[in-house]
């Protein structure tokens, strides 16, 4: 009997090992998601099934908020990629003390977000360090409006999310077979041809992971736009928190969350396949 139990246990080992994680995902992810979908179809006043919540949010103001979040997320992704790629490339191919460099590059990731944002305020404010220095140097007479702009939101978001881009890029480039560079060169390719036809395509899995890792959370980001963009810069994240925390309108909040989640999912899938096109 014990023998049979033992052999059964050994045979089903993968199941037992995966079970806690699956349970975790069901309780903390799938179940809440189903609750959310359910709530989004319930009229909060009557308690009956209804499309009301979705009708309610189908307006231009909501559309603008979603587009703004998409815009922030896309720009953040774009800048983290074009800044992160050369950094990851340098660390993987040339840097000596790779571990230390990576530690310093991922430092923002270790620091509390609020602290980070306030650190940027210190630099970007009207009385901040940059304006102070520029005035002292006589380059400007009036302080520049640096904080509370779209630019400052993108800047700080890029800064916060860049570790998520560098890490997957680094892990792919670090495993890159240097002989491929020589092979490409041997076959007559210049450095830029090699970059275009070999290095970037081979690091594509890293690029894709990095883009998804940055794009998805930056779409829902609300702390940075809320603090850096001033009160008028409503985003998907801040609107969701408004519905659930301030107005306690769970039904409409759920509908909005589901809608923006679907848009995020579709955009992410679209980007994922667009990247595959650069393969050859």
């Amino acid at each position: 009997m014990i023998e049979r139990l033992k052999s059964c246990f050994l045979k089903e080992m993968p199941f037992f090992l995966a079970a806690p994680a699956v349970l975790w995902a069901i309780i903390l992810f799938l179940f809440p998601l189903l609750c959310l979908i359910f709530t989004s179809f319930i009229d909060q006043d009557t308690g009956l099934f209804s499309w009301y919540n979705y009708h309610h949010i189908a307006n231009i103001t909501i559309a603008i908020i979603i587009i703004r979040s998409l815009f922030y997320a896309l720009l953040t992704t774009f800048f983290t990629l074009i800044i992160g790629y050369p950094i990851a490339y340098y660390v993987a191919f040339y840097a000596r003390a790779k571990e230390y460099m990576l530690f310093f590059l991922t430092l923002p990731f270790w620091t509390n977000l609020i602290v980070l944002v306030y650190a940027w305020f210190f630099l970007l404010e009207r009385e901040g360090l940059i304006n102070f220095l520029l005035t002292k140097l006589g380059l400007i007479t009036e302080p520049l409006q640096l904080a509370y702009t779209t630019g400052s939101v993108i800047l700080v978001m890029t800064y916060c999310y860049i570790p998520f881009m560098i890490m997957p890029l680094y892990s792919v480039l670090n495993k890159f077979n240097m002989r491929l560079l020589e092979a490409s060169c041997d076959l007559g390719a210049t450095y830029f041809q090699t970059l275009r036809h070999v290095i970037i395509p081979v690091s594509l899995p890293g690029i894709r992971t990095g883009i998804i890792l940055v794009f998805v959370p930056s779409f829902g980001e609300f702390i940075v736009p809320a603090l850096m963009g001033g009160a008028k810069q409503l985003t998907v994240g801040s609107l969701i928190s408004y519905y659930f925390v301030v107005s306690k309108n769970y039904a409409i909040g759920s509908a909005f969350t589901i809608l923006s989640g679907l848009i995020l999912l579709l955009t992410a899938i679209l980007i994922y396949f667009l990247i595959t096109l650069i393969k050859k």
Binding site: R179, L180, A183, C185, D186, L187, A189, P201, V202
Partner: protein, 364 residues
């Protein structure tokens, strides 16, 4: 098809000289093997020819054109890399087409060329397979196809068969010889395996640990007439005896080995160091020795000993025989008969015979 000429080449890494004052000519259209032990700088030499490394001193010529400072991507030389270095994100066809696409060859001409080369390496069926789906031998052929499709003046092969098993290696060696014959390209083949070099090469150069080229010539000449004891023991196996040259009554040299006696020599060659009493080394190949438990006649030289160990190789057997002066001599004997008339066993007393023409006298 062009020749390669290297003049007074020197290259060092971090202050350590890898090669210095190296001169080498690779004849046009030859299958040239560059043989040397690990760390002899043969791969460095290949990388210098390919253009991945730059010479500190000296010059490299492709035919009559100096290419010393020409960047790798502009040299009409292609390389088959040791670990193949195939592009993992491309299929077989795209890998082979890479060089042609870079050159901007139109797709229909390119397709024709790639298909032709794939048929030459017997992989036309695998055209659209991904690299990961291929075996080591097939990847090897793709690496070869990717290089030769560009019709280089010189093809460099950096230990191309090192990762393959013995059977496949033997087959690929024959295919390489055939390929070189069909394509009429100059092949430079780097290897540490003397058997591979002897098999494929029209000419071979042997490098020693210091990155110096010790001997250049056709394989048979190098095997039968090694220039020094390094070559004699590196190319093939040999028994080296240290002793002295002594002039006999008729003016011929004989070889004296302490505690073993005098041995007849056919010739010693005309070298300045060849004189009466000079110390020298006698190289005697194991396959040129006859082993017997009973005395034989018609041999010019003979020693006696006891069998210390026997290594059975299948087609031949290696006997390690300890002589009276404690020296151990290897003997190869062909296993010609299914039931040999004479069975030699451990500790048997044996006679070793060789003809005086079959030894080479080397400077010690």
């Amino acid at each position: 098809m062009k020749s390669i000429r290297i003049e007074n080449a020197a290259k060092s890494y971090a202050g350590e000289a890898i090669i210095h004052n190296l001169n080498l000519t690779v004849p046009v259209g030859s299958f040239f093997a560059l043989l040397g032990p690990s760390g002899s700088g043969k791969t460095t030499l290949l990388r210098l020819i390919a253009g991945f490394e730059q010479l500190d001193q000296g010059a490299i010529f492709l035919g009559d054109d100096e290419i010393t400072t020409v960047p790798a991507h502009k040299r009409k030389i292609n390389t088959v890399f040791q670990q193949y270095a195939l592009f993992p994100h491309m299929n077989v066809f795209d890998n082979v087409a890479y060089g042609l696409r870079i050159k901007g060859i139109s797709e229909n001409i390119l397709e024709e060329k790639v298909n032709y080369i794939l048929s030459v390496v017997h992989l036309e069926k695998y055209r659209y397979k991904s690299i990961a789906q291929l075996s080591g031998g097939q990847q090897q052929r793709i690496a070869l196809a990717r290089a030769i499709v560009n019709e280089p003046e010189v093809l460099l092969l950096d230990e191309p068969l090192a990762a393959l098993d013995l059977k496949l290696r033997e087959r690929m060696l024959l295919e390489l010889i055939e390929l070189q014959d069909t394509l009429k390209m100059t092949f430079i083949y780097v290897t540490h395996d003397q058997l591979e070099a002897l098999t494929v090469a029209d000419y071979m150069a042997i490098m020693d640990h210091d990155g110096t080229i010790q001997q250049v010539g056709i394989p048979k000449l190098i095997y039968e007439n090694p220039k020094n004891s390094f070559i004699a023991s590196f190319v093939g196996t040999t028994n080296l005896f240290h002793g002295n040259l002594l002039s006999n009554k008729s003016g011929h040299f004989e070889f004296f080995i302490p505690q073993l006696g005098m041995f007849e020599l056919a010739s010693t060659g005309e070298y300045p160091w060849v004189r009466d009493g000079a110390t020298a080394v006698m190289s005697l190949r194991p396959e040129k020795i006859e082993i017997s438990k009973t005395p034989l006649f018609n041999f010019s030289n003979m020693v006696e000993g006891f069998v210390k160990s026997i290594v059975y190789h299948g087609r031949s057997t290696q006997y390690n025989v300890q002589l009276i002066n404690e020296l151990v001599v290897s003997v190869f004997e062909q296993n010609e008969d299914h039931f040999p008339q004479e069975v030699i066993d451990y500790d048997d007393h044996v006679y070793l015979y060789w003809q005086k023409e079959n030894v080479v006298i080397l400077e010690s």
